[in-house]
């Protein structure tokens, strides 16, 4: 497969580092070029990294419940930066408290994310989705 580049990181004031490291491992193993901007990452860092590396996708993680506030306007900022076509995923514990998943998913889809993953998703799922969305044949 041709090299596809993805930018990943943990957004906002979130410091959950472990899953992020494992996710990187998994995506690299799956053949992606991974730019991991780490935890405590503002929206700008994702977008700048994507512009600089001409990335194909941005994967946003949020584990601490503030995802809803942290992700506001993300898609718009991507468009402003010329990344209107970039594939945008988000996943994790996206809201405070246990809520029904469907409305949460809808909310983030409405915000412009292409795919939204609930807590406990294993890496295999977004990897398969990303291959499909980027038209990678194995």
């Amino acid at each position: 497969m041709e090299d596809k580049t993805i930018v990943m990181g943990v957004i906002g004031s979130d410091v959950h580092a472990v899953g992020n490291r494992i996710l990187q491992e998994a995506f690299e193993k799956a053949g992606f070029e991974v730019i991991n901007i780490g935890v405590l990452a503002p929206q700008e860092d994702f977008i700048n990294a994507a512009v600089e590396t001409d990335a194909d996708a941005i994967l946003v993680s949020s584990l601490y419940g503030h995802g809803e506030m942290d992700c506001k306007g993300f898609k718009e900022k991507c468009v402003e930066a010329g990344l209107e076509d970039i594939v945008l995923y988000v996943g994790g514990n996206l809201v405070v408290g246990k809520q029904d998943w469907e409305p949460v998913k809808e909310k983030f889809l409405d915000m412009g994310f292409d795919r939204v993953y609930p807590p406990g998703t294993l890496p295999e799922e977004p990897i398969a989705d990303l291959k499909e969305d980027l038209g990678i044949e194995e």
Binding site: G12, V15, V18, V39, Y64, H66, M69, G97, G120
Partner: protein, 482 residues
């Protein structure tokens, strides 16, 4: 300002204090003299150090949840619920993640949005924004001691406000709230900022007010070997005691193997008594954290994990245990789920309060290994600092002599790779630059080779990943899929 493990003069403390109290408008409401007065009038049942001393005396394990929401009334309601319906002995106020990064503006926005949405948009209680008076409203609405729990590298203003606000316990430390909670903050900086917090508490103690301090034991909460977290806990204990802190609770996060966990709890207390022997009148207690890593999504399975943590805390005679909830895998729990975690924990603790894990060769061996390892690390820290533990700590992190697995901080070497052995105890697959003797290194190697043999694979990073996911998938040891 040069970092040294030396008690700050009151002048130096007060000089910096002026700046600290101006970091956010609510800082101006802090009046130390008046706060002393306020604490003097607190009922004894709300003073953490008294409750902990009593529990230690009676060999009882107390229970405490994590909890915090954006708005004051809702926060009070939540804590009342956990006290009444969860039978919590001790209460927390968990601080939101914006406040932890000193983003008081974003916290303010979160408060606003929470009001508008009618639900908490913050994952904790923004105490700095709410200020001293609001903290006291919380304290006065309850009948148990309150602790601030957070994850704040620079927690000076938060300490000023919450302690003046009647909280009697403060979690954290210059290492335990930096390495797992920050990316770009130097260790020198957080040690200085936490010397401030400790000096503030020392100042309260000088005025007859007991404030308990609790280094955050579990660090990254992911396969942290006991000697790693013990080293950090003892360093933070020493730094706190030097600034005049008199009541210290040392923490440890459950690894999952009963013998190792009980050995860790016992050795932590014994080591701390040894290292802190020069400081008079220091009361030491212990806190055990129920499993801090990934949880099963299923609530029934989560109850199993919670209960096993409760059993370990009771058998290990921890002074208190911090509880998890059946919603753990889903993020911040509802108050009902939080109370459920408390009640299942209380049931197990009460059933086991008259039992303990009896001594045997394996337990003694584990304790001995943890002590050896911790001493080897701390010896080198003192050496690197020419006897000054604060300076030695900074250099030890640079040299990877202190190192925490899976931490986000760039000031952390990140060379460690822990994995479980065949019994589920956490060992070093790669001990990086930890200054271990050959004996220690071989002990760990042999343990992991034994596991590798029984699984028919070489110990490697895949084994580590399997272990990280294991409990979430219903196992302790991440066995290869067959």
């Amino acid at each position: 300002m040069e970092l040294k493990n030396e008690k700050w003069s009151l002048d130096k403390f007060k000089e910096i204090r002026e700046e600290v109290l101006q970091q956010w408008p609510t800082g101006k409401d802090v009046d130390f003299e008046e706060a002393i007065e306020y604490h003097n009038n607190l009922p004894e049942e709300q003073i953490m150090a008294e409750k902990l001393a009593e529990a230690k005396e009676e060999d009882v394990t107390l229970i405490q949840p994590r909890a915090g929401v954006a708005l004051i009334d809702e926060h009070i309601e939540l804590l009342k619920f956990l006290r009444e319906e969860g039978q919590a002995d001790l209460l927390p106020s968990t601080i939101d993640s914006y406040t932890r990064q000193n983003n008081y503006e974003e916290a303010e926005a979160g408060i606003e949005e929470s009001r508008e949405e009618g639900r908490s948009m913050l994952n904790g209680f923004p105490a700095v924004n709410h200020g001293v008076k609001a903290c006291r409203e919380v304290v006065e609405a309850l009948d148990a001691p309150l602790q601030v729990r957070h994850g704040t590298p620079d927690a000076r203003l938060l300490a000023e406000i919450t302690l003046a606000g009647g909280f009697t316990d403060y979690e954290g430390g210059g290492l335990s709230y930096n390495i797992p909670y920050a990316k770009n903050v130097s260790i020198e900086q957080t040690l200085l900022d936490w010397q401030y917090v400790d000096r503030l508490i020392g100042y309260y103690e000088e005025n007859g007010i007991k404030i308990n301090r609790e280094p955050f034991g579990p660090l990254t909460g992911t396969l942290v070997p006991p000697s790693v977290s013990h080293s950090v806990a003892i360093i933070e204990g020493l730094l706190a005691a030097e600034q005049g802190v008199k009541n210290i609770t040392l923490g440890y996060g459950q690894c999952g193997n009963l013998v190792q966990d009980v050995a860790a709890l016992q050795s932590l207390e014994e080591l701390a008594e040894e290292y802190l022997a020069d400081y008079e009148d220091v009361m030491l207690t212990t806190v055990f954290h129920q499993w801090m890593g990934g949880f099963p999504q299923d609530e029934a399975q989560a109850f199993g994990v919670i209960s096993w943590g409760a059993a370990t805390a009771a058998l290990g005679k921890a002074t208190k245990v911090i509880t998890k909830t059946p919603h753990e895998a889903m993020g911040v729990p509802t108050k009902e789920a939080n109370a459920e975690g408390l009640r299942s924990t209380k049931q197990v603790i009460n059933m086991l309060r008259d039992q303990s894990l009896l001594s045997n060769d394996k337990l003694e061996e584990e304790k001995e290994m943890i002590k050896q390892e911790t001493k080897q690390i701390l010896d080198r820290v003192f050496e690197l600092g020419n006897g000054d533990v604060a300076q030695g700590t900074v250099r030890a992190f640079e040299a990877g002599v202190l190192d925490v697995p899976f931490a986000p901080s760039k000031y952390n070497a990140g060379n460690l790779l822990p994995a479980r052995d065949d019994d589920g105890a956490v060992r070093f697959l790669n001990h990086g630059n930890l200054p271990f003797s050959d004996e220690v290194v071989e002990f760990h190697q042999e343990k992991l080779e034994a596991r590798g043999k029984s699984e028919g694979r070489e110990p490697n990073f895949q084994m580590v990943i399997d272990d990280i996911y294991a409990i979430g998938k219903g196992r302790l040891v991440g066995r290869p899929r067959s």
